[in-house]
């Protein structure tokens, strides 16, 4: 109530005349954006539900669902059983891919990388394909994708250690090589896969989709992603300092090697978890940090929260398009490219890129 009163008593016109206040308001609106969009997106589908009924269903779910006399409506069941898990997954996966992309661009001091650079997605793709080939349970497919995502990055890490004085650039190079290696293995699996059964399954998985997400998938995804997001928010100032380079980070009292290793580990686990649920989704980790930088600038204090919000919004948009534009599901990887590439081109055309 007090907050509302304060908001109402602010004289908005003079506040909005100040550039800094305008930027701050815009920043907070950006951070709040995922919530209304998610409520709106839950309502969209073959069975339309108005936003107020979505809110009603969500509040019932949170407050009344355990009461004995609670009688679920059709809307309630549709919202909480079918659409909420999928929307939650879209938000979590999008936030995860967006923020890890920004963290990687910061520590690699390169605006052209995302977490894929260390091969996590390629490893996960192989892990999933391997299990899809033998028609394993979807849960097993996910576990395998997660595990092989980590295996690929560990392989890149230890192989890069074989080269003395391994700087980050060697790790990136080895990561690309390991990624290609796993991509080739995946191609091999596709080559031997049954063209009527497992081959379409593998192909579809490699294009990414949230269609198969159920309530069962959410707890682990939410736990890992939210913990990871908290970590990223915690180190957001340090990402600024790391992006100056190791020598300067050290003179400012940081231990860049240890900090970068922690960030790589957290990012890798987050990405592996996200990809194991969604399949391979490209572009988010690359496009979102750039988009966020044009909106809020390069300072990671604002950039990290902005990439979380923007990544969530972007994937929510893509996923909503994927499930509503055509009668059948369209793979996400198709849309992220089709939407992401023009978006990135527009961003690069805008002057304020936030990098040199």
């Amino acid at each position: 109530m007090q907050v509302m009163q304060r908001i109402l008593t602010i004289r908005w016109v003079p506040v909005l005349r100040q550039r800094e206040s305008r930027q701050r308001l815009f920043y907070w609106l950006l951070l709040a954006l995922p919530l209304p969009l998610a409520i709106y997106a839950i309502g969209i589908g073959r069975y339309e539900i108005p936003p107020d009924q979505v809110v009603q269903a969500l509040s019932d779910y949170a407050l009344h669902s355990r009461q004995a006399d609670f009688a679920p409506t059709v809307e309630y069941n549709l919202v909480t059983r079918i659409r909420l898990p999928r929307i939650a997954a879209a938000l979590l996966v999008g936030a995860s891919l967006g923020v890890t992309g920004a963290a990687f661009q910061g520590i690699f001091r390169n605006p052209l990388v995302d977490t894929n650079i260390l091969g996590v997605t390629s490893g996960a793709g192989f892990g999933a394909a391997l299990m899809l080939l033998i028609n394993a349970d979807p849960f097993v497919v996910r576990v395998s994708a997660f595990a092989f995502g980590l295996v690929a990055v560990l392989a890149a890490f230890f192989v890069s250690r074989l080269y003395y004085s391994a700087p980050l650039i060697v790790l990136a190079l080895v990561g690309i090589l390991i990624g290609s290696f796993f991509n080739s293995l995946t191609s091999l699996l596709k080559y031997v896969a049954d063209p009527l059964d497992s081959l379409p399954a593998i192909t579809y998985w490699l294009l990414g989709s949230l269609a198969a997400v159920t309530r069962r998938d959410i707890p682990a995804l939410a736990l890992v992603t939210l913990a990871g997001l908290l970590f990223m928010i915690g180190v957001r100032w340090r990402l600024n300092v790391l992006s100056l380079g190791d020598a300067e980070a050290r003179t400012l009292g940081l231990n860049p090697a240890r900090l970068k290793l922690m960030i790589i580990v957290v990012s890798t686990v987050m990405t592996a978890m996200a990809v194991s649920v969604s399949g391979v989704i490209g572009w988010v980790g690359l496009v979102i940090p750039h988009a966020a930088r044009t909106l809020v600038g390069p300072d990671h204090r604002r950039l990290i929260p902005a990439t979380i919000a923007l990544g969530a919004v972007f994937l929510l948009l893509i996923d909503t398009m994927a499930r509503t534009l055509w009668a059948g599901e369209v793979p996400l990887g198709v849309f992220t490219g089709i939407v992401g590439v023009p978006l990135l081109l527009v961003i690069l055309r805008v002057n304020k890129t936030g990098w040199q």
Binding site: R109, W237, L252, L254, Q356
Partner: protein, 265 residues
């Protein structure tokens, strides 16, 4: 005067067999500006990195207020000794305020971000180097001189006892050199001791309390500017003839390089 920073018998080589620093010792008293002169590749930057604690010497020891530098944890060390690097281009277009704010890092709690107090210190540091008008401009859009001033402001915002400047005036015009070095001189009187590496013996004559001259990784002379900056020492260090010109009437002293075989045309 109390010695703030002391180095004894430093030895360093990047590649075994190629010694970059050999038995280097120096002492920096409080309230002192110490100039480090020497030819390109004589080990000035390496020495500054060792003095800042970023690089550990293979032999010898650095003492900060009587404490072994290598025993001080990194974040505590960074509150007491700072290193301002040579100008470079960062990847991301941080504003001047953001770049200077990074100097506050060692003072922040773990996982913390700068607060109001840090903002005030940063604005003061930016004002000291005369960049207040550019405070919200991207660092990448500044001239070389303005970038150097920004990095120096970052060093000031770090609020250390000792500040090591690696060729701070290399990209500056005479006016900006004066801005920087007068700021340095004023701060030295107040609280900070400075070690400045430079290729400009004249600014050492103007601003240094102490001068150390290096050649091929060794200290060949050290002491007060008037004693150290002689024709003999400078010519030996740079491997060329240098004249020290004195205008006694106006109290001016300057170092002039001499053209081969020609003194005046």
């Amino acid at each position: 005067m109390a010695i703030v920073l002391k180095a004894e018998g430093l030895r360093y080589s990047y590649v075994p067999g190629q010694v970059v620093l050999d038995d280097v010792s120096l002492a920096v008293p409080a309230h002192t500006v110490l100039y480090l002169l020497g030819h390109n590749g004589c080990g000035k930057t390496t020495l500054l990195e060792i003095l800042s604690g970023v690089r550990t010497p293979q032999a010898g020891e650095v003492w900060l207020n009587g404490e072994r530098l290598r025993n001080i944890p990194a974040h505590r060390r960074a509150r007491r000794v700072g290193l301002v690097p040579q100008v470079h281009t960062p990847v991301f277009a941080y504003t001047v305020r953001e770049v200077v704010m990074m100097g506050r890092t060692p003072h922040l709690p773990l996982l913390g971000t700068p607060g109001r107090h840090d903002r005030e210190i940063v604005e003061q540091a930016i004002e000291q180097v005369g960049l207040s008008a550019l405070i919200d401009r991207p660092y990448t859009e500044l001239s070389g001189g303005e970038r150097q001033l920004t990095l120096i402001a970052r060093g000031l915002a770090q609020q250390t006892d000792v500040l090591l400047l690696d060729e701070p005036t290399a990209h500056l015009d005479p006016r900006n050199q004066q801005v920087v070095l007068e700021t340095v001189a004023a701060l030295a009187q107040e609280r900070v001791a400075f070690v400045i590496s430079s290729h400009n013996p004249n600014s050492a004559l103007l601003y240094a309390h102490q001068v150390v001259v290096m050649k091929e990784g060794r200290v060949i002379a050290g002491g007060k500017p008037l004693e150290v900056l002689t024709e003999e020492t400078l010519s030996h260090s740079y491997g060329m003839t240098m004249d020290v010109v004195v205008d006694g009437a106006r109290g001016i002293r300057a170092v002039m390089p001499r053209r081969n075989g020609i003194f005046w045309r």
